[in-house]
C-alpha cells in the first residue's frame, strides 16, 4: 500500500494535532515496514510551517517526502491545483491531520482526522481566522472524506450530531497516545520550582485560555486556601493564550498571586517532572476532543481531578475524580478532601498508572493501518450531483 500522510504540524512547537500525527507515523513506520509512505511536510494552505521544508523528521527505506513548499502561496497553488493527486503518485491513501481538507481525489481514499469542534460550542474559544479555517476543513470532510478518524467516542458523537447524514460506518475512533515513550523517565525540575517540595504542589497543564477554564480553577483554589486547605502552591504550566491578558490581574484580585506559580512554556523533560511530582493534576477543561494532559499525567502516576465534559470521562475512566467544570465549589471541596487524605491521593495515583496502560500507541497505529486496508478495499464515497 502507498500511504500519503500529512506531517505538516509535526515541526517544533507542535500542539495536539501535531503530536497525534507524530505518534501515529512513528508507530506505523515501526509496525509496517512493508508499506510505502509518502510523508507530506506541506498539506494545504491553512496551516503553514516555514521550517518544515528543511527537516526530515522520519526516515526509512520505505519513506519518501512529498513536495516541500517555501511559501504558503506555493502550497496553495499545489494543493488547490487539479494535479496534486497525480503528482503525489496516486497513493492508495491520503490522510489529512491538520484540519485542512483537500478536494476529493479521483482514486486515492481520503482519510480525515477529526479532533474536535469546540468552535461550534463556543466560537470565542479560538481566533476567528482559526475558526473559519477549521470549520471549512471539517465541513469539507463531511462532504468529501472517504473515512473520518475521530480521536474519541465523544468527538465521533459530536461529529455525527452536527453532520447527521454522514455515513456512520465511515467514522472510526482511534485514540491518540502519549507523546512520552519512556514511562520510567524521571524528568527535570523546572528552575521556577526550586524551593517546592516533591509532592507538594497542585498542577494544571495547558495554555492559559478560556476553554481550559483556569479562571474557575484559580477561583476554586482561592476558596480552598480560604477554607484552610494545606498551603500547597498551584503550578500553572503553559503559555498565556487567548483573551487572558488580565489573568494575572485576576490572581491579584483573588489575593492568591503569591501562591500561584506560572511557569510559562515548559520542556517535555520538565513536564514529566511536574506530572511525577505533583500532589494532583487538576484539569477542569470545558471541552476537549481527547485530553492528552490527563493521559500523560496518568502515565507518570499523577492523581487526577478532571472535568466530566466531552471526551474527558473516556480518557480518565474510573481512575480520576470527575467534576462539573463550571462548579467551582465542587472543585474546592474535592481539593480540600484530597489534601486532607493522602491515602486517597496515593490510591488515585495507582489507578492512574493502570488507566494509562490501557492506551497504547501500537494498538492505535495498528487500527489505523487496518482502517487504511479497509478503505483501500472498499468503494469511495460518491460526490455527484
Amino acid at each position: 500500500m502507498h500511504i500519503g500522510f500529512d506531517i505538516s504540524q509535526t515541526g517544533s512547537g507542535k500542539a495536539g494535532c501535531g503530536f497525534f500525527a507524530h505518534a501515529m507515523i512513528q508507530a506505523m513506520l515501526e509496525l509496517a515496514p512493508e508499506q510505502r509512505f509518502t510523508l507530506l511536510p506541506s498539506f494545504g494552505d491553512f496551516y503553514f510551517d516555514a521550517l518544515m521544508p528543511v527537516i526530515n523528521p522520519y526516515s526509512g527505506k520505505n519513506v519518501q517526502y512529498g513536495p516541500r513548499h517555501l511559501s504558503r502561496e506555493n502550497a496553495r497553488t499545489f494543493w488547490n491545483g487539479t494535479e496534486a493527486e497525480a503528482l503525489l503518485g496516486k497513493p492508495d491513501i491520503i490522510h489529512s491531520n491538520n484540519f485542512w481538507c483537500p478536494a476529493q481525489p479521483l482514486s486515492s481514499r481520503l482519510i480525515y482526522t477529526f479532533y474536535d469542534m469546540g468552535f461550534v460550542i463556543d466560537p470565542g474559544w479560538t481566533t476567528e481566522a482559526n475558526r473559519v479555517g477549521c470549520f471549512e476543513g471539517v465541513f469539507r470532510s463531511a462532504m468529501l472524506a472517504d473515512w473520518v478518524v475521530a480521536i474519541s467516542e465523544a468527538s465521533k458523537a459530536h461529529y455525527l450530531s452536527v453532520f447527521p447524514y454522514f455515513p456512520k460506518d465511515r467514522i472510526r475512533v482511534i485514540f491518540p497516545c502519549s507523546r512520552f515513550g519512556d514511562s520510567s523517565a524521571m524528568g527535570t525540575r523546572p528552575n521556577s520550582l526550586k524551593n517546592i517540595p516533591e509532592g507538594g504542589f497542585w498542577l494544571n497543564v495547558g495554555t492559559i485560555e478560556p476553554r481550559k477554564n483556569q479562571r474557575r480553577l484559580v477561583e476554586a483554589y482561592s476558596g480552598y486556601l480560604a477554607k484552610g486547605g494545606s498551603s500547597m502552591p498551584l503550578v500553572l504550566a503553559g503559555g498565556t493564550g487567548w483573551l487572558m491578558d488580565d489573568f494575572k490581574q485576576y490572581l491579584m484580585e483573588l489575593g492568591i498571586a503569591d501562591s500561584v506559580i506560572m511557569t510559562g512554556y515548559v520542556s517535555d523533560e520538565e513536564l514529566i517532572w511536574l506530572y511525577r511530582n505533583c500532589y494532583a493534576n487538576l484539569y477542569p477543561s470545558l471541552f476537549e476532543g481527547f485530553g492528552l494532559p490527563v493521559l500523560e499525567g496518568m502515565q507518570f502516576g499523577a492523581p487526577t481531578l478532571t472535568s466530566n465534559a466531552a471526551s474527558l470521562p473516556e480518557v480518565a475512566g474510573k481512575a480520576a475524580i470527575l467534576l462539573a467544570p463550571e462548579d467551582v465549589n465542587a472543585w474546592t471541596q474535592a481539593m480540600l478532601q484530597l489534601s486532607a487524605n493522602r491515602a486517597d491521593r496515593d490510591y488515585l495515583g495507582t489507578l492512574a498508572l493502570e488507566q494509562a496502560a490501557s492506551f497504547d500507541w501500537k494498538r492505535s497505529a495498528a487500527s489505523l493501518l487496518d482502517l487504511y486496508q479497509e478503505a483501500a478495499g472498499s468503494p469511495k464515497r460518491s460526490f455527484l450531483l
Binding site: 470549520f135 465541513f139 447524514y165 455527484l384
Partner: protein
C-alpha cells in the same frame, strides 16, 4: 445659506454597466435622484467613464449633467491589460467580489485615471467633491471632499480576499480618511470600525443609514409562478437572499439546516438560496446532495426583482446568517415585505434589525437551527415581529431624509475644511506626474519646503524645468536639471500656509515612448518631499507613509 455649494462634482467613474457594482450602485443612483431634487439651485456634475456614461443618461436634468472623464480609448486597451495582469496576480478571484462595492472594477478605474494632469475640478468651478464609492480619486487640495465608507470587511476577514485586493482596499480606505473633509458611514458599526482602525476624529465621520427599503415594492398581485416553477409552497420554505460569497456563511447555514431536518423539521420545509451561478454555487449544490438534501435546498440562480419579491413575500421567513455586513439591506427588505427575519447578531446586523429580528450567533449551527424552528413554529412571536418589522422598514424607506442627511454633511464640509499638510501628484512607486499640488497648513514657525528630484539618465528629454506657483503666481526662478542628475528645490514658505503648485516639464508617457505598457504621464522620479521647520521638526509628505 448654501450660496457656496453651487457646484458639486460626483465621482461616478467606478460605476459599471448592469449589476456589476452590487447594491452600492442602486443606493448611489437613488441618492442622486433625491439630492438634485432637494437642492435645485446646485449644479451636479457627474464624472463618468465611457462604459457606463450612456446608461446614466436618465439622471440628466436641469441641475444634473454627466461629464465623461475616462474615455473609451484608454478604457478598452488598458482596462483589458489590467484585467489580464490582475487575473494573473489573483487567480482565485472570480468575476464577482464580495461586498457592496465591486472593488476590482474600482481598482481598474482608479489606475486608469491620470492623477495629477490638469485641474479638472478647479476648472469646472467645483465647490465640493462627493465620492460615493469611497475612493477620492479626483481629490484636489483646497476642494472640500466627502467620501462614503461601506465596510472594512477586508480587515476582519482578510482570508476572504486576494492579497492584492486587501492592500488596495486598505489604500482606498486610508486615502478616503486622509483626503476627505468629512466621511459618511452606512452604519454605526462601519463608523466605529473606521474610527478605531484609522484613529479618526469622530467629528469627521457621520452615520447615514441606507434608506431605500422600498426598492422592491411588495405587491400582493405578484404572480406565484416562481413558486410553482421551483416546486415551492407558500409559507413552507426559508429564504436566504445572498450571493455565494464566503462571508455569507452558506456552509454553516446548510449544517444548521441539516441538523434541523434531522431533528424533525417537517419534510416539506425547504431552504431557498438565491445568488448567481458559478463555482461556489456548484460546490454548495454538490454539498446539498451529499447531505441528502438535494431536494430540500433550492438554488434558483439569478432572479429578476419581481420574482425575488414574490419569493420573499411568500416565504416562512428570511434567514440571514452572514458573518459580516456593513449594513444588511435584505433584512430591511424582508421587514418591508412583511415576513419574519432571523439574522446574525454580529457587525451591523443587530443595529439594523434592532429588536425586530430573531438574533443568533452565526458561528453556532444549533442556534441557527433553533431560529429556523422558531420562524416555522412560533406563530405568535412571528406575527408580532412582522408588525414591528413593518414599522422598522418605514424608518429605512425615506430616501429624501437620507439625501438631506448627505446635504447636511456637504454643508458641514464646506465650513469645516481641514487645513493640513498634504501633497498630491506623485505615485507610490516614486514617479511624479507633471504637477505636484501641495497644501501647507499655517504655522507659527518659519517653514521651508524641500523637494529632491532624481532624473533617470534614460528619460526621453535631456533637460527638466521646475516652476513653482502659489495661487497662480510664479515664485522665484525656475529650477533646471539634466537627466541623470538629481536636484533639490528649496522654497521658503509664508507662515499663513496656502496652496502651492510645482510644475515639472516636460512630461512623457512611457507607453508612447516605447518604454513598456505604462500609460501614465510622468515627469521625473521624486526622492522625497519634506517640510522643514526652524525648530528642527520635519514633516515628510513623500514618500507617503500611509500608502501601503
Amino acid at each position: 445659506m448654501n450660496k457656496s455649494l453651487r457646484t458639486i462634482a460626483v465621482d461616478l467613474t467606478p460605476v459599471l454597466p448592469g449589476g456589476e457594482n452590487g447594491g452600492a450602485k442602486i443606493f448611489v443612483l437613488e441618492l442622486l435622484r433625491h439630492l438634485c431634487k432637494i437642492a435645485p439651485q446646485t449644479q451636479f456634475i457627474l464624472l463618468t467613464q465611457s462604459l457606463s456614461h450612456d446608461e446614466l443618461a436618465y439622471l440628466d436634468g436641469p441641475n444634473m449633467r454627466r461629464r465623461m472623464v475616462v474615455g473609451p480609448k484608454q478604457t478598452n486597451s488598458l482596462r483589458q491589460r489590467l484585467i489580464e495582469s490582475f487575473s494573473r496576480l489573483a487567480p482565485r478571484i472570480h468575476v464577482k467580489l464580495p461586498g457592496i462595492v465591486n472593488y476590482l472594477s474600482e481598482k481598474l478605474n482608479t489606475m486608469l485615471i491620470q492623477v495629477g494632469s490638469g485641474e479638472l475640478l478647479r476648472d469646472m468651478g467645483v465647490d465640493l467633491l462627493f465620492c460615493p464609492f469611497t475612493s477620492p480619486t479626483y481629490f484636489e487640495p483646497g476642494i472640500p471632499t466627502v467620501c462614503t465608507i461601506y465596510d472594512l470587511q477586508y480587515k476582519t476577514y482578510p482570508e476572504f480576499f486576494a492579497k492584492e485586493d486587501v492592500s488596495h482596499r486598505e489604500r482606498t480606505f486610508l486615502e478616503a480618511c486622509r483626503r476627505a473633509t468629512a466621511l459618511a458611514a452606512i452604519s454605526n458599526y462601519s463608523r466605529d470600525s473606521a474610527i478605531s482602525s484609522a484613529n479618526l476624529n469622530p467629528a469627521r465621520i457621520r452615520t447615514i443609514h441606507l434608506r431605500m427599503a422600498q426598492r422592491i415594492p411588495y405587491d400582493v398581485t405578484y404572480e406565484k409562478d416562481i413558486l410553482n416553477r421551483l416546486g415551492l409552497t407558500q409559507k413552507r420554505y426559508f429564504l436566504y437572499p445572498a450571493n455565494f460569497w464566503k462571508h455569507k456563511n452558506h456552509e454553516m447555514l446548510f449544517t444548521a439546516f441539516g441538523m434541523a431536518c434531522h431533528d424533525g423539521l417537517p419534510a416539506d420545509i425547504k431552504l431557498v438560496c438565491t445568488g448567481s451561478p458559478g463555482e461556489r454555487q456548484e460546490w454548495l449544490m454538490r454539498s446539498a446532495s451529499m447531505m441528502n438534501l438535494a431536494d430540500r435546498i433550492i438554488f434558483p440562480g439569478f432572479l429578476p426583482n419581481a420574482d425575488l419579491a414574490a419569493l420573499m413575500a411568500h416565504c416562512t421567513g428570511v434567514i440571514f446568517p452572514s458573518l459580516y455586513e456593513g449594513f444588511g439591506l435584505p433584512v430591511i427588505e424582508a421587514m418591508a415585505a412583511g415576513v419574519p427575519v432571523a439574522c446574525s447578531n454580529t457587525t451591523s446586523l443587530p443595529e439594523v434589525a434592532a429588536d425586530v429580528a430573531i438574533l443568533f450567533n452565526p458561528r453556532i449551527p444549533s442556534q441557527i437551527a433553533q431560529a429556523m424552528i422558531l420562524l416555522l413554529e412560533d406563530g405568535a412571536l412571528c406575527a408580532q415581529r412582522i408588525q414591528s418589522g413593518r414599522k422598522r422598514a418605514l424608518e429605512f424607506s425615506d430616501t429624501e431624509l437620507m439625501a438631506r442627511e448627505y446635504w447636511e454633511l456637504f454643508e458641514y464640509s464646506l465650513t469645516n475644511e481641514k487645513h493640513e499638510n498634504l501633497m498630491t501628484g506623485a505615485f507610490a512607486d516614486g514617479w511624479s506626474g507633471p504637477i505636484l499640488k501641495i497644501q501647507i497648513a499655517p504655522s507659527k514657525c518659519a517653514q521651508t519646503l524641500e523637494i529632491e528630484f532624481l532624473a533617470p539618465d534614460w528619460l526621453p528629454h535631456p533637460r527638466l524645468t521646475v516652476h513653482t506657483t502659489k495661487s497662480g503666481k510664479k515664485l522665484g526662478t525656475p529650477l533646471f536639471f539634466n537627466r541623470g542628475a538629481s536636484a533639490v528645490l528649496s522654497l521658503p514658505l509664508e507662515p499663513g500656509g496656502g496652496f502651492y503648485e510645482v510644475k515639472i516639464s516636460p512630461f512623457f508617457v512611457p507607453a508612447k515612448s516605447g518604454l513598456g505598457n505604462d500609460q501614465r504621464e510622468l515627469s521625473t522620479m521624486l526622492k522625497r518631499c519634506n517640510l522643514l521647520y526652524d525648530n528642527g521638526e520635519i514633516v515628510q509628505l513623500f514618500p507617503d507613509k500611509l500608502d501601503i
